[in-house]
Symmetry: C2
Subunit: 370 residues, 2 copies
């Protein structure tokens, strides 16, 4: 075939294959300039490209990192994938992609696959509660960086975590709403066991408490038991939640959602009831996905600095062992509140007294907590 090997280059340059290899792997400093030129010229002349499979076989290393996310169809993960991939390429790595749809079996399958493909660093976006199933690979030396998933006390100690400070994010969102005068502020999450929910809700609560409100008295929607797989499902949960809440005994004037997709669902539900977003009900999201600026009104949200997060995740994934000081620890970046049109001052007339929504009540829904 037309494949040019290192031997052919060596012959062309009148040196040994080892010398060519040395040149290629960066040890060109300890070479006569004249030899180096001969090698370079030979490579150019023959159009030589190193064979990565041979390299990987010999060295046991790949220049690939794995990225395992719920689904790149979700703009949040798509954007993160994009940023991580961009950073990787700049660092000379390629990205192998896997979508788990939040299925533990698929996640395991991907990790196995990636391991077999020689990948030894995986950025994992699936926030499953336990990492037990990956223990065998961690034992064999897999470098695992969880993204957007708070570290659990039971996690294996070698696992690294890169994410935004969710607690701060929750606080920022709630504080913004409280600052606008709202006192009936609800929190809407996809599922009880969503790992991000905990920290975000904690921050949310602490802002409420600081303002003299009792979080336990605020309506809170815990969603269905299933973690929403797709973007559409996440939105649907928001729609359900707000519909039930506004029909409840103590309808909120402001809502903080676990993420932007759910927030958009909330908005859609508000509109369906004939109410105005930002005027009648304020909505805060989380993530700041592209859609947040495109919807009407644009969404006030807590922005995750995805480019920075991606860079950090990559550093942990490909950094030197000693340079990775955070081995087993977490990096938390500070999120930023982006105020747009979906939030506004508390309405003069409480919604509960208005007509309309009450007729569409789904009363006593068990998922509507407190």
């Amino acid at each position: 075939m037309g494949t040019v090997t290192i031997q052919q280059v060596a012959a062309e340059a009148h040196v040994s294959p080892t010398t060519v290899s040395n040149y290629l792997t960066g040890r060109s400093e300890r070479m006569q300039p004249e030899t180096r030129d001969r090698v370079r010229a030979a490579i150019d002349r023959l159009g030589y490209r190193p064979n990565r499979a041979a390299r990987a076989l010999r060295t046991g290393k790949t220049h690939s990192i794995g990225l395992v996310v719920p689904s790149v169809a979700n703009p949040f993960w798509g954007t993160f994938a994009n940023e991580l991939e961009r950073a990787s390429i700049a660092a000379g790595y390629s990205v192998l992609l896997g979508n788990t749809e939040r299925d533990a079996a698929r996640e395991l399958r991907y990790v196995e696959d990636l391991w077999d493909a020689g990948v030894r660093s995986i950025v994992l976006g699936t926030s499953l509660p336990s990492l037990e199933h990956l223990q065998p690979f961690l034992d064999r030396g897999l470098r695992l960086i969880t993204f957007d998933r708070p570290v659990q006390p039971t996690d294996p100690p070698s696992v690294m975590s890169v994410s935004v400070d969710n607690s701060v994010g929750g606080y920022l969102g709630a504080a913004h709403l409280l600052g606008l005068g709202h006192t009936r502020v609800s929190f809407v999450a996809g599922a009880m066991q969503s790992l991000n929910r905990t920290a975000r809700y904690r921050g949310f609560c602490s802002a409420l408490t600081e303002a003299g409100l009792d979080p336990a008295e605020q309506a809170q929607w815990s969603g269905t038991d299933a973690v929403p797989a797709g973007a559409a499902e996440a939105a649907e949960i928001g729609r359900e939640a707000i519909t039930a809440m506004l029909a409840g005994p103590r309808p909120p004037t402001a809502v903080m959602a676990i993420n932007d997709m759910t927030a958009l669902g909330v908005c859609s539900g508000i509109r369906a009831l004939g109410l105005s977003i930002g005027a009648d009900v304020s909505v805060v999201g989380f993530d700041d996905i592209v859609l947040a600026t495109l919807c009407d009104p644009p969404l006030t949200t807590v922005r995750q600095p995805l480019p920075d997060l991606a860079r950090l995740a990559l550093r942990e994934a490909v950094g030197d062992d000693d340079d990775a000081a955070t081995r087993g620890g977490s990096v938390l970046l500070r999120p930023e509140l982006v105020v747009r049109g979906s939030t506004g001052p508390v309405p003069e007339v409480a919604i509960g007294r208005r007509s309309g929504p009450a007729t569409r009540v789904v009363a006593g829904d068990p998922r509507l907590v407190s």
Copy 2:
């Protein structure tokens, strides 16, 4: 190290490495059941996993396909990536991801990289007009499947294409608007040289002509010269376009956009002028991305059957040489019109006579054609 090799399995099963290899590569039919069981047992006992680098080196084949798209941050491409990846996994392939940001140099870099990694099939989503720069790889046997990019007469003959029938899509969108009684129907595209634009616009025009309208008399927005890189830019173009058109001498009552992001931008522009989408101005998009259902009103659009397209692209990418009858040809799937809230009957009072928009005119914009 803890790596188990085929020799160790062979020793454990008291057979030769070749026999184990035969078992692994599916030639287990011509083996004594008893031997087969011994091999299987040995593999299980030792937890053997084949080394892919060695395999790739020996056979020259990888079980990876490349996916090169503008950006998975764009929901359209994210969804396609997701579908392709899902289909690939089911077929035993992994996906290597590259985001080009529509930059020819980056595209080339990815193809080089992927080739070096042993990838011999690439699904290419970047719609650059020319594929010349990839010719060297095509000569060496690269299997290239372009997606969402109509075949150009000058394309190398071995390139395959999978996409939706854009002409039919343009026709469906226009026909829907004409059916609603609209007679001032504009077409908004991101850029003149967008390859999709041609076919979609052709279909659009043929529907107009059939209805007795002269396409040349309809306003048409050709966008800036640069192809929009990100999702946000695509939306911005829509916003600009509609703002200028509605301020023009013959404001449209209906708009068909080159894709959903641009359509959403159009919607946003319409709202900014205080007009109502679907009532004052009807909008049709193209693609049917997730956002199309989530925005307000939900977007009428021409749906691309992404799961089917992904399956087809994969088949071309991994199929047998002889089974790939479409080598060098195109597969065009029929798109489907999805009618939602953004389109409605032509308004009684033409917009031009109403107040408001005229005050915000950006008159005589050179990009506003005819």
